[in-house]
């Protein structure tokens, strides 16, 4: 059968994209449109679900099925879609406020259940749509309209929560590196379970350059590390820095100095069940460490929730004598009058 190979254009909707010029969301949309033809699902089998916030307008711009939900609830709506029809490829679009503040509970439980969906967390460390209030990922002391003297609260790290909640997949990318983003989204799509992808995204209006010290083209090679499965953890413009484990802590070493060479450097294993090293990698912060990019954890802990539910239904059906509502109505104690 001749099946037309879908192109990124095929996934574009006819709606005008209404994000601000220069917003990081444009690049994430384009990276996603590039990934979609490669995930192996037909148009009609893809569903995008979002909450509320700038990023949550995303489903309107993708020519698939979609629901633009209410604030914080995309994870719950998507859970219902996937459990109702496990044959669908379900994507959640959410922001740092949507998923980690008002939707924090659903975020945790989505991960705990390990429902096979893909979640793209647009993290710009600010409330954009409500015009500039601090978010749960804003840095300690962040100045914003609701913290004019600086916040007095610690930020969440999405990777820390994901792995802490027993997550099976966590990856990170940067809006301005769309090629890396596309590759990571494809990995997320392949993973069976709840795949969480954090995108360091720039809000050009309310939190411009929030990630700049990490993501600026000039410096980023020294400030991020792209982790790849089974490859040594080496980074830097000159590929001359590495991560080692010493005294139960990660440490950055200069290769060729202090007796360190490539063989001392940790080799990344996305699949190890032991989450400790993934937690350390996912929560590395600049300037002490490079910020980890790529797939940090991808570990098939178990069959996905919806599959286990289907299996349970099949098992119960095969041994139950109740096959129809009529059987049910007449089951148990009945009597004739």
């Amino acid at each position: 059968m001749d099946v037309k190979q879908l192109q990124p254009e095929d996934f574009k909707s006819d709606q005008m994209v209404r994000w601000c010029a220069g917003c990081g969301d444009h690049a994430i949309l384009s990276a996603t449109l590039k990934a979609l033809p490669q995930i192996g699902y037909k148009h009609e089998d893809v569903v995008f679900i979002s909450g509320i916030g700038c990023s949550s307008r995303f489903p309107y711009y993708v020519n698939t099925y979609g629901v633009h939900g209410i604030h914080g609830r995309a994870m719950a709506i998507a859970s219902g879609v996937k459990v109702a029809n496990p044959a669908l490829s379900v994507w959640i679009i959410t922001g740092d406020g949507d998923s980690l503040a008002i939707g924090g509970n659903h975020f945790m439980h989505l991960i705990r259940r390990d429902i096979d969906v893909n979640l793209i967390l647009f993290n710009n460390r600010i409330y954009g749509l409500t015009k500039g209030q601090y978010s749960p990922t804003s840095i300690h002391g962040a100045l914003s309209k609701t913290s004019p003297y600086g916040t007095v609260e610690r930020p969440f790290k999405p990777g820390g929560i994901t792995i802490g909640a027993g997550g099976s997949f966590f990856a990170r990318t940067i809006d301005s590196m769309p090629k890396m983003s596309t590759e990571i989204l494809l990995e997320a799509a392949k993973h069976i379970g709840a795949s969480i992808v954090e995108v360091m995204q720039n809000c050009v209006i309310f939190n411009d350059n929030t990630w700049a010290d990490i993501t600026d083209r000039e410096n980023r090679d020294d400030r991020i590390i792209l982790l790849k499965h089974r490859e040594p953890m080496i980074f830097g413009k000159n590929q001359d820095k590495g991560l080692i484990l010493k005294d139960n802590q990660l440490q950055v070493v200069q290769l060729g100095e202090g007796g360190y060479s490539e063989k001392d450097v940790l080799v990344h294993d996305t699949q190890t069940e032991f989450a400790g090293i993934h937690l350390m990698l996912a929560t590395m912060d600049y300037p002490k460490y490079p910020v980890a990019m790529g797939v940090i954890r991808s570990c098939n802990l178990q069959a996905a929730y919806e599959r286990k539910l289907e299996d349970q239904i099949d098992a119960v059906r095969s041994r139950s004598e109740i096959k129809t509502v009529r059987d049910l109505l007449h089951s148990g104690a009945t009597w004739e009058v």
């Binding site: 709606q15 009609e44 633009h68 859970s79 219902g80 879609v81 029809n85 659903h106 096959k323 104690a333």
Partner: protein, 614 residues
């Protein structure tokens, strides 16, 4: 054994079993009512239990009760007052004495009436002197010690033996009312199939209680309640929660849809989720969500994906679901929200019944957010209205809130098993056009219903969402005229449901001056009151509402036929206020009780008589 005991034929009896929360009174009551139903009586039950699972033993707070009303004639309520109270301890007497008829019988476990328990219950020395016993026949029975004696050779430990004393009590009452014991024994065989010693112990306690009653000569007579004259058919007992669960399943099966239920446990609605969770054999997908909001949001997701989706809750949960109900209104997706009402506000009275969520169901959301509101009125018709709620939700692409209450949810009655072939057809509004000619918000011109295209269907890819929808296309629209148009459309769409619902009926005398009115779970009590008043030679009519929004089309016409209208509710007058808003041309009198309990027929007849006069 040879003593001649008089057998007295009586029309109906109400028995209240009461004891500590851990005494197994709910099971005792259930077994008795099931036996009576199988015997052929009409039955109505009322469990009355505390929110605490095991409040301190022996205290009034920890008393759990179960009232069974059965009779030769039609039984509409569990009975206001009981003919027999079984009190397993002094606290049970303290909590329930007020419900014993002045010529009733109290059977109590004298072993539990020691000084400590008497004081704990709030009595001083002798409970039967401190209460005004009057003509009540008080029968002391050493239930605990006789159970201990009876089961001493079973090899069970003391604690397990004491857990059988409720069956000894059941035996006594079974003899008194000439009930067969087979039903209870077959229950033990099923329940304890893996522990034969428990089958033996419970059976022995039951029989020994029965023979004890026969032997002691304490009862001057025993009573026989002949089977009721009931329509022929196959019957079973059903409570409201199970009936809701089954109604949803029946609707899903008839519509050819999967059933998805996203819920969070909450008293008194949890029984619905529990029943559905055990029905994997009928492919029901239940999702025990992390909270009430996730419960409804997963259901909305499942509805978008093509299931018949429902969420089940009680008042506090309905409050949490408000915003998401609005999402279902905006996206025009089918959704059934079941609200099993309980006493409020806040946590209120979780295990007690009330009708105080009506305004919340009608209006408890942001924006102009109309939904269909239905109310079941008996335990068994919870099945019909869950089915009907599903049918309306699907055929009209709208959320429907189905109101039941704690009284219906836990109360049970015999139910003539319906024939699934006779269930009304449910038409799923799938797109008829080809994809290129289809738009998600184009409507049927008659019903204003949009069509339901589901993921997986090629060519119908579309987005729905919480932002205002442009007419026809469903795209986001901020155009002022469009918002006004869509607001009117959503409202009119709900009002058009009135064309699909049956007219309001009048029970009783169409030419009466006074129209008695109620809605939902008060039906049985209102009907009994109507029968009593008419039996006394007065003219009276009853209009009982199952359809609240929209109201039946003939509601105004019926209002106009009576001089006086009396709206009776277990709240401060929410339905009366709604009627004043919808049909302001009529005046409405009110009768309201709000004690966390059903009406009593006595209260109703009193107020009706007063209203007949002035």
């Amino acid at each position: 054994m040879s003593k001649q005991v008089k057998v007295v034929e009586i029309e109906e009896v109400a028995i209240r079993f009461s004891g500590d929360s851990g005494d197994g009174m709910q099971l005792t009551g259930t077994l008795f009512s099931d036996s009576s139903a199988v015997f052929g009586n009409d039955v109505s039950t009322f469990p009355d239990y505390p929110a605490e699972i095991r409040a301190p033993q022996g205290t009034v707070a920890g008393v759990s009760g179960f009232q069974v009303h059965f009779g030769h004639a039609q039984i509409n309520t569990p009975g206001d007052f009981c003919d027999v109270l079984v009190a397993m301890n002094p606290a049970a007497l303290k909590a329930n004495f007020r419900w014993v008829k002045s010529d009733g019988i109290i059977i109590y476990d004298i072993d539990a009436f020691d000084e400590k328990n008497i004081l704990k219950a709030g009595y001083k020395v002798n409970p039967f002197e401190e209460e005004k016993v009057g003509a009540i026949q008080v029968i002391s029975a050493p239930i605990s010690s006789l159970t201990r004696e009876s089961l001493k050779d079973t090899g069970l430990d003391q604690k397990s033996i004491m857990r059988c004393k409720n069956m000894f009590a059941l035996g006594i009452v079974s003899w008194l009312f000439d009930r067969p014991l087979e039903h209870a024994v077959s229950f033990f065989n099923k329940k304890f199939s893996k522990k034969p010693v428990l089958v033996e112990a419970n059976t022995k306690a039951l029989y020994d209680g029965y023979y004890y009653a026969e032997t002691i000569e304490a009862f001057t007579s025993h009573f026989r309640v002949k089977p009721a004259e009931i329509e022929k058919g196959t019957y079973r007992n059903i409570n409201g929660n199970t009936a809701v669960a089954w109604g949803l399943m029946a609707a899903a099966e008839n519509a050819g849809l999967g059933l998805f239920v996203g819920s969070y446990p909450i008293t008194p609605a949890t029984g619905i989720l529990e029943e559905l969770a055990s029905r994997k054999d009928l492919k029901v997908k239940t999702f025990q969500a992390e909270d009430e909001i996730a419960g409804i949001c997963t259901a909305i997701g499942a509805s978008y994906a093509g299931c018949l989706a429902a969420t089940t809750t009680s008042g506090p949960g309905l409050a949490l679901k408000g915003e998401a109900i609005g999402l279902a209104v905006m996206t025009e997706l089918p959704l059934v929200v079941v609200d099993v009402q309980r006493g409020g506000p806040s946590t209120g009275l979780p295990t007690k019944t009330e009708q105080s969520d009506l305004m919340q169901a009608l209006f408890g959301r942001n924006g102009e957010s109309p939904v269909v509101v239905l109310a079941a009125s008996t335990p068994s018709n919870c099945f019909d209205f869950a089915y009907q709620a599903s049918k309306i939700a699907i055929e009209h692409m709208t959320p429907v809130i189905l109101m039941t209450d704690g009284f219906l949810a836990n109360g049970s009655e015999p139910w003539k098993i319906p024939d699934p072939d006779e269930f009304p057809v449910i038409k799923v509004p799938r797109p008829k056009e080809s994809p290129e000619n289809w738009l998600p918000y184009v409507r049927d011109p008659e019903t204003l219903v949009r069509t339901w295209a589901i993921p997986g269907t090629p060519g119908f890819e579309h987005r729905v969402g919480s932002l205002e929808k442009a007419d026809r296309t469903g795209n986001v629209s901020y155009v002022p005229e469009n918002h006004e148009l869509m607001t009117h459309i959503r409202d009119a769409k709900i009002q058009k449901v009135a064309l699909d619902i049956p007219p309001l009926e009048i029970i009783g005398d169409p030419d009466a001056d006074l129209l008695l009115m109620g809605w939902g779970g008060t039906y049985g009590h209102l009907l009994s009151a109507l029968n009593e008043i008419r039996g006394e030679g007065h003219k009276l009519a009853l209009a009982h509402f199952n359809y609240i929004n929209p109201l039946p089309l003939n509601t105004g016409d019926i209002m106009s036929r009576f001089k006086k209208r009396l709206v009776c509710e277990i709240n401060l007058g929410q339905f009366a206020s709604f009627l004043r808003m919808k049909l302001p041309e009529y005046s409405y009198r009110q009768f309201n009780k709000i004690m966390g309990l059903p009406f009593t027929v006595r209260d109703l007849t009193e107020v009706i008589l007063k209203n007949l006069e002035d």
